[in-house]
């Protein structure tokens, strides 16, 4: 439980005056993801603790360095959960890094991403000014949505100091069923079932098996499970599968491999994204593990492995690039925050 806001503000203010590049770091268990950046380290890992938690309101406000694993434990005591089910990466990932890197679990199509649960945050911009946006209430449209803008910004617009999150009650029941299917058949099934108002919280295809996770109330899960059929997966195996999927352990690139991420319309044919190794999010996210450094397809994210100074997040149209550079300037005129972490030109 430490509030380092003042210290962080001072560090950025000093860097602003001296135009010193800063590298925002939290768990830093994953320094090799995204693009490489360098600079004086801003350590977020010790800026931790719960600012307020109202279990009856289903809202929590925590400092950015708080670990996902600790947050999960705390919420579990009240039978509550983070709706976006982020990975905790061996217990090291922090909530600030999770928001900055926009990390969501398998339930993304049904329970939304980070932005859908994010109510507000504190931000220190490149001038070293501490600001608050959004709040702890469910709906808020006063001013521009600076809060959600931070999702995926990789810290390039500011240091996230605290976040307010909308919570959901923990599921009462859960169940995973599997089906032996080719990717083509599985995709058809996923598209069909995704639109049936079933309590589905995960649909993924990996190594010839379609995994369907059901979570919700007892009777809802049981009746959906009866409806779907398939092979029941035991509790331990199911937990291990969804955990491994979330934590990115199913596909690990070796030194000459790259793990690519595709994001698109869930009904894109299997043939449109060739050599897919894993389908997630009912078809809307696909993963390709390939040897060599050439992207197998345009528009992919170079998720893991390969040259980390390449344009790993993919190409951006010239007007978009110009716009993003102006937005970066609006937050960080000297370009001192995580320079080049997102794109080489930012």
């Amino acid at each position: 439980m430490v509030d380092l806001t003042q210290q962080l503000e001072d560090q950025v203010q000093h860097a602003y005056v001296t135009k010193t590049p800063l590298k925002i770091q939290a768990g830093n268990t994953k320094a090799h993801l995204g693009r490489e950046t360098s600079g004086e380290v801003v350590d977020m890992a010790n800026h931790t603790g719960v600012v307020s938690y109202s279990a009856t309101e289903l809202v929590i406000r925590v400092r950015a360095g708080t670990k996902i694993s600790q947050l999960n434990d705390l919420l579990a005591e009240q039978q509550q959960r983070l709706p976006f089910d982020p990975p905790s990466f061996n217990g090291e990932a922090t909530i600030g890094g999770t928001v900055a890197a926009n990390q969501t679990g398998a339930s993304r199509p049904w329970f939304g991403g980070v932005k859908d649960s994010l109510l507000g945050l504190g931000l220190i911009n490149g001038y070293g000014e501490a600001m608050q946006f959004g709040g702890q209430v469910m709906k808020n449209v006063a001013g521009f949505d600076v809060t959600r803008l931070q999702c995926g910004a990789m810290g390039s617009l500011g240091l996230i100091t605290d976040v307010s999150i909308k919570l959901l009650p923990e599921f009462k029941a859960g169940h995973t069923v599997t089906f032996e299917m080719t990717a083509e058949v599985a995709l058809e099934a996923m598209l069909r079932w995704a639109n049936l108002s079933l309590p589905i919280t995960g649909m993924s295809h990996f190594q010839g098996l379609l995994y369907v996770r059901l979570q919700g109330g007892d009777s809802g899960v049981t009746s959906a499970s009866n409806f779907l059929g398939g092979e029941q997966l035991n509790f331990v195996a199911a937990k291990e599968f969804w955990q491994a999927l979330k934590e990115g352990r199913l596909l690990q690139p070796t030194s000459n491999q790259i793990l690519w991420r595709w994001s698109g319309a869930s009904d894109s044919p299997i043939s449109a994204v060739s050599n897919t190794s894993l389908i997630n999010w009912a078809g809307a996210e696909r993963w390709i593990l390939e040897t060599g450094s050439n992207p197998p397809l345009e528009g992919l994210t170079q998720h893991k492995g390969g040259d980390r100074l390449a344009q790993v997040f993919g190409a951006v149209s010239p007007p978009q690039q110009a716009l993003q550079q102006r937005i970066k300037y609006a937050f960080d005129p000297h370009g001192i925050l995580n320079a080049g972490r997102l794109y080489s030109w930012m």
């Binding site: 859908d116 521009f144 319309a265 996210e285």
Partner: protein, 490 residues
């Protein structure tokens, strides 16, 4: 429709910058067919305000494009002539966000009204911005799908306006606001360039520009196309009505239900004045002796709904509901909703004018804030009816007044201002879904500090450095804030 006539020459003179304006008008005439330009005072009257009619202003000229090319051309012209531009959808907004600019162009988007494609597999739709909210849900119905954000104005309001305001509705408690149901937006920048934000997938790499754009009130760009999510219709929908002797008890029921982890599809509350007005108007059998009503909608599979129904009824009774009515069939459910949906016009029948506020507060503060509002109502001598999205703490106090009585409008505005600052004081916000527009500018410096406001202004400049898009709305200038603060402390 009137085209270029003598009136336009008058306007040119009035505007002061005669050269600029004359050139702009002649360029617009080159760009658009005669039917796409409205210049006479008479024909522009219907456009002089949005749903908040106390703010009125005639624009210099009104344009109604039919193609994206034309929209780009219009923005390019405004940019090169440095003339302000105000986008407009159906004009149902409640914060004077679409009120025209005296020296500017009013850009009416209602003719870009095609549903381009509905994809049943992915449950998504590609639409033009002028498509009406309800028209989309109607078109998706044969496929068993619907568009979840459902403002009470859904019969008229446009998707473009919804995106600009981040609109919600009675079902956003469970299914989210516009921002949670949007995948992609194509916008035209003030320079006339096309930019696409978001994508076909769920999470694109990089900063979330799409979310930044949602709710930006026409200050950052003009929406010309959107891709939205549709939802499958739930197999079972169940509506309950609970009557209470006090608003506090009803408020406590809401907090208790949420605390138990039940998220209904909708959870609305009406107070005594709103109940009587609605019942007088639609006659659906609301108990007019109740001090507060909760309307609760549960949806899901049969099994899920049955499970929740028991919990909800019990929770309401435990927290003081003297009567819980469960709709027997779809017709009765519709009737129970009808009173809520007609509440604004119903209140309109019992008062010459009303003023709708939109503050949002933590759910646990509902009882406290409603009590405080009724005290304020007594102090100002103006009645207030409350009908609102209780499930997410989004209040809609309706201040009843008579604009023809000297000073009543001013009193209504002062009371409204006090309600909004009260919302901020209990940890809430001045607007949950209607936007800031022109109306809530005075409260912006109350909710935000100087650093946040300056950050908003720099963001605005990143999109629109010449301040031509909907100027004077949404984000107060530095000078405005200084004046506001000196008034407060002076």
């Amino acid at each position: 429709m009137n085209t270029l006539s003598n009136t336009s020459n008058d306007l040119v003179k009035q505007a002061g910058e005669a050269g600029n304006v004359a050139a702009l008008i002649s360029d617009l005439q080159q760009l658009l067919p005669a039917s796409g330009l409205i210049m006479s005072t008479e024909s522009q009257r219907p456009f002089e305000c949005d749903g908040l009619a106390v703010y009125q202003q005639l624009p210099l000229i009104t344009v109604i494009p039919e193609t994206v090319d034309q929209v780009q051309g219009i923005l390019r012209l405004c940019y090169s002539h440095r003339v302000p531009l105000v986008p407009r959808g159906a004009g149902t907004g409640l914060c004077a966000g679409a009120m025209p600019h005296a020296e500017g162009v009013l850009l009416v988007m209602t003719k870009l009204n095609k549903i381009l494609h509905i994809n049943q597999h992915t449950a998504t739709a590609r639409v033009q911005p002028g498509v009406r909210n309800l028209a989309l849900t109607d078109a998706a119905k044969p496929m068993g799908l619907y568009y979840a954000p459902d403002p009470s104005s859904q019969i008229a309001c446009t998707i473009g306006g919804n995106i600009a305001e981040n609109s919600g509705g009675v079902h956003c408690l469970k299914y989210g606001l516009t921002v949670n149901n949007l995948l992609q937006v194509t916008l035209v920048t003030i320079e006339g360039k096309l930019i696409t934000l978001g994508g076909d997938g769920l999470d694109e790499p990089g900063m979330d520009l799409l979310s930044l754009f949602v709710g930006s009130e026409g200050l950052l760009g003009v929406v010309v196309e959107a891709k939205v999510k549709l939802l499958p219709r739930a197999p079972r929908v169940q509506v309950l009505l609970a009557a209470y002797d006090s608003v506090t008890a009803a408020g406590d029921s809401v907090a208790a239900l949420i605390a138990q982890g039940i998220i209904p599809a909708g959870l609305e509350m009406m107070d005594h004045l709103a109940i009587s007005a609605a019942e007088d108007f639609v006659k659906v059998g609301y108990p007019t002796d109740a001090q507060a009503l909760l309307i609760c909608e549960l949806d899901g599979t049969d099994a899920e709904v049955e499970e929740q129904l028991a919990v909800v009824s019990q929770c309401f009774k435990l927290h003081g509901a003297k009567n819980v009515r469960v709709a027997k069939d779809a017709a009765e459910a519709d009737a129970l909703w009808q009173g809520r949906k007609a509440a604004f016009p119903a209140v309109g029948r019992i008062s010459p004018d009303y003023y709708c506020m939109d503050g949002t507060i933590p759910r646990s503060k509902v009882g406290h804030v409603l009590t405080r509002i009724s005290e304020l109502s007594n102090t100002y001598g103006l009645r207030v009816a409350n009908v609102f999205h209780a499930g997410d703490g989004n209040l809609h106090p309706l201040i009843l007044f008579d604009a023809s009585v000297d000073g009543e409008l001013e009193r209504a505005e002062l009371l409204g201002g006090d309600i909004l600052t009260l919302c901020v004081d209990v940890g809430g916000t001045i607007t949950g879904e209607h936007g800031v527009g022109l109306e809530k500018m005075p409260q912006m410096p109350y909710q935000f500090g100087d650093a946040e406001l300056a950050q908003f202004r720099r963001l605005k400049a990143a999109f629109d450095s010449e301040e031509l898009l909907n100027p004077g709305k949404g984000i107060p200038t530095l000078k405005y804030c200084q004046e506001y603060r000196s008034l407060q402390h002076g």
